[in-house]
Every structure is written in C-alpha cells, then in structure tokens.
Symmetry: C2
Subunit: 260 residues, 2 copies
C-alpha cells in the first residue's frame, strides 16, 4: 500500500511541515520505501519531484526540503510497491494534459485484475494506479468536449471511483490545478487549518510548528492524508465511499456513494 | 531567442559537463536569463527540472549539478523570452504522453502569427513553441493510430518543421525516449564523441574534462547544441533545413528539406 498527501489552500502555502512527516514514513517510521513523489501547482504550471529511492534516503527529497515551494494545491505520495516494479514510470503522482491544464493524480490501494478499455491516454508504466488515472481522463474526455465546471465532472469521477472500488482499494487525489478532488474507499483523513491557528507537532519527526506565527488571519489550508500527520490536532476521517471537492482550502461540495 | 542542448548516447551518460557550460549562458556568458529546463530520460520515465530564474542563479540548477543523473537521451533549454511571459508553463522542455511514451520537445526561435488548428493536445502556456509541439503531436496522431517506427514519422515531422519555418525561426529537438529528432532552421551544431576520446574545455566556464578517463572504448555520445560548447573539439554545423534522427549516440538517418 501507499500513503497520500494533498493540500488545498487559499494562499500559496508551504507544505514543508506535512511533507517532512510524510517522508519519514518512507522507510523510517513507515514501510513505504519504494519511491515517492510530490507535485506542486504553480499557477497553471506543475513542478513534479519524484524519486525511486526511499524518501528518507532521497537527495531529491532533501532538495525539496531545502527549497520550500509555496503552492495552492499539492499532491504527494509515498509508495510501497504492489503492482508494478520500482522505477520512475511507476512512481506517483501521474500527470497528463487535458484541455490545456495539467491534471495530476495519486492513488493509495490496489486494484485486482483491472483492465479498463484503451482510450486516448495510455499508461507509460505498469501500475493499476496509472491505468485508473488514464481511464478516468478518458471518461472525462468522452463525457465533455471541452473544459467544464468541476461540479459537472463529479458524476463522471464518482461513477469511475465506484467502479474501481469494486476491484479493490481505491483512495485517490486528483487535481487540474483549479480544484482538488478526493475519494475515500478505505482510508483518508482531513484537517482544515484557519484562524485561530494553533501549534502542531509531527507524529513521525521531532518537528513542531506554531501556525499562528506563519499565517495571516485570512489563511485557510486543508491537508488530506492517509493517516493523521500531527499530534495536538483533530483529523477527521472520511467515510468509505466519501468524495470531496476542494478549492482555496475549503470544501466546495462533498458526498458519499452508496455502499457496494 | 534561446539555446538548445540535446544528447543521445549508447550508455547512460552524465550531461553535467555540457549542462555546466549551457547554464553559464543563462545570465552570465549569455543573455538567456528567462528560465531554463532539462529533461532526462530514465528508461521510459522522464525527469524534468525547470526554473523560471536565470540558470546561473537557480537553486534547482545547483541541485542538478550536485546530483548528476545518467541518461541515454537528454533535452535541455535556456530561455530568452520573446512570445509568452516568464513563468513555469512557458518554460521548455514541454512534455506530453503519446501512445504510452513521454514525448519531450524544446524549441529555439520564434514563430510569428502562428495559429495551428486545435487538436487533441492543447498548450498549457502561451508560447509559440508549445503550440508547435502540440500541433506536431496532433499531426502524428492523425497520421497513425498507434506506435510506429521513428523512420515512418520523419515525413510527418519534417513536413511540420518545413511549415513552421515559414512562420519564422524553428530549430528544435524532439524525443520519445527511444530516439532523438532534430531540425535546424538557422542554428544547430553537433559533436559525436567516441574512442579515441580526448580532452575538452568549456567555452563558458573554467572546466575541462578528459573524456578518456570517464568513458569506455565502446561509448558513443552525441551532443547537439545551438552553439559550440567547447574548445579543443570540432563541432559540425547543421545546414538550414537539415533534420536528423539519433539513436544510441549515432545518427540513424538525416536529410534536408528544400529551401523555401
């Protein structure tokens, strides 16, 4: 299995604190040593850093820590390989251009005997995750001929997630740089930080932050993760089948698909 | 204008030496201070590093220098902005997935009043370069329904290049990770390094290398650039309208389109 990290904020925000905690689970406090990746939206652009090494040993991860990038949407992932060997093409997040935007996706779980129909987007690697991402984008392309409001995409995305979940475990994060979509099949937690801000301490590393000192009263930042990253804060678990759409740090709309 | 850097090798090779020279032209020995990018193929995967800062001042460039990556195909670019503001989405190289491969492209030149028909691939940014890349891939998709030998792509690619050249200056590098294609409209030089290897000294930085000491007798490495990067070596200029296809460091086929 793997772990996911997502962020939606209303101001460019540095994910360093959460990233530091997550990276420890990549071979130190967690077993997810088969590569990691993190994608930062910068305007319409996307900066993607990936490595096939355990994140705790990764020089690229050190760079990302030394060079904090501020972003309004971030998708990160640490991998414990199941389907697909350990190599760059099997490392999340995955990216494709659709309608002139960079769409980015990461998956936690695994899908058994998963063979979606071939469409416009083809996987480059061997993972069930990238297959699902390509299939999701192929469905979106089939449903609409050009850019549409995120709200109109929800039925297409949730129907796809519901189907994938029948093949196994499918927790995912998806973004096009404007919004962040999440789906929980088994495990996903969230926390929204806004004024009044308090302190927090990482569970996986000896690091604390007083958000009061590094934010303004108007900041709103939501972090999504597979498991709580901090002490001193209350993370909310998503229900199985729960989906949510985030923009500028706030949940725009959320819902839950019927149980199988 | 901008400068291009390309490499094709028959063994994973470190481009650090050439990269070091090119980076100096990004704000130091050259005026190309509006961002830079370099893409390294790693198997079927692609590592892309980009920055909107002048390469001489770029922390990401320092990382790439500290962390030499070996690759069989590399495409690099330093930018002096003409069309399109300075931001990540306007920074070369550009990447798209086609038929399950990462296609990567960089352009030197500028196309005036360039409006190719809209197709499957859309530009994310505002540059004429990304428009041309998307149009090129759209033409390839229209011409073939799935992966074909590079040799069969040549007529489609060279016809596109011939048309683009009519709108201005179009020197480019294109790869899908298997082969490297180049087109010269005004400026492109090449050098192939193979046994017996000699020493070389950068023109833009105080750095020399004795290739004899860092290679094996079987290594073949070709470097393409906008202008000679070294002293003590003879670089060959491509003719206007000259195109070439490279694999494993060797030129597989080359030709020249008729003059306008």
């Amino acid at each position: 299995m793997c772990e996911l990290l997502g962020m939606s904020a209303n101001v460019p925000t540095d994910i360093l604190f959460s990233f530091t905690g997550l990276m420890q689970r990549g071979g130190n406090t967690g077993p997810h040593k088969d590569g990691w990746g993190i994608a930062f939206y910068e305007g319409r652009g996307l900066r993607l850093f990936q490595d096939t090494k355990a994140s705790v040993d990764s020089e690229v991860a050190q760079l990302v820590r030394r060079y904090p990038i501020k972003s309004e949407i971030v998708i990160g992932h640490i991998r414990q390989a199941n389907i697909g060997r350990i190599c760059l093409v099997n490392t999340h997040p995955f990216v494709r251009e659709l309608w002139g935007s960079n769409w980015c996706f990461a998956h936690n779980g695994q899908l058994a005997d998963f063979h979606p129909p071939k469409g416009f987007y083809w996987p480059v690697g061997d993972t069930d995750s990238e297959k699902a991402f390509c299939d999701m984008l192929n469905r979106v392309r089939e449903a609409f001929s050009g850019p549409v409001e995120a709200e109109r995409l929800i039925p297409v995305l949730t129907r796809a997630c519901a189907e994938y979940r029948k093949s196994g475990v499918f927790n995912c994060l998806l973004s096009n740089g404007d919004w962040l979509f999440s789906f929980c099949s088994t495990k996903l937690v969230e926390i929204t930080r806004k004024a009044p801000f308090g302190p927090a301490r990482l569970k996986d590393a000896d690091m604390s932050v007083d958000f009061q000192a590094v934010t303004t009263p108007d900041d709103v930042v939501t972090v999504l993760a597979t498991e709580d990253l901090t002490h001193d804060e209350t993370w909310t678990s998503h229900p199985s089948g729960g989906w949510s759409l985030w923009r500028h740090g706030e949940c725009v709309v959320r819902g839950q698909i019927e149980e199988q």
